[in-house]
Symmetry: C2
Subunit: 96 residues, 2 copies
């Protein structure tokens, strides 16, 4: 292994980062759509049962090098950010 | 929009979650490889300049619904977890 290998591995990391970014934003868009549907139906935005189901599916499918607790922590941050996104949209809708 | 739409949107979210999970774990594997290279070369594990560069590339490419600060926060959590992964491997290597 040389410094060149290190550089190649770092390029791979950057590539994966951008793929994760793309998926995060795609996820954000779907979450916004869900927010609109819930708003129209008068459903409360946060659904702990649904969040638990999502997390369970992630746990079932996890087989990577990260600790399960780490993966759960990262996804909980993503869930929290998504909920904030719905709240922001709701505020904006009220201001229109 | 009906409850059925909501269910379809949730399925899409689950699909994206699993894609993010796959990428996270792929990223974890590359990070482990980087840890091995650094170990052999006697380079310190944490490189703030490199982390800044990674984050800058993410910022440049961000164009989704999330606030930039949110995206940065999520990636910093991923970076932190990756560093922990390298530390764990180092500890395990010392124990062998």
């Amino acid at each position: 292994m040389t410094t060149n290998d290190l550089s190649q591995l770092r390029d791979k990391i950057d590539e994966v980062n951008l793929q994760i970014l793309e998926l995060l934003n795609k996820r954000g868009e779907i979450v916004q759509e869900i927010g609109h549907v819930k708003e129209k139906q008068g459903i409360v935005r946060f659904d702990p049962v649904r969040e638990r189901q999502s997390l369970d599916l992630i746990i079932e499918n996890h087989d990577g090098p990260f600790e399960l607790s780490t993966v759960q922590h990262i996804f909980k941050e993503i869930f929290k950010a998504s909920l904030e996104l719905q709240k922001d949209n709701h505020k904006k809708a009220l201001l229109v």
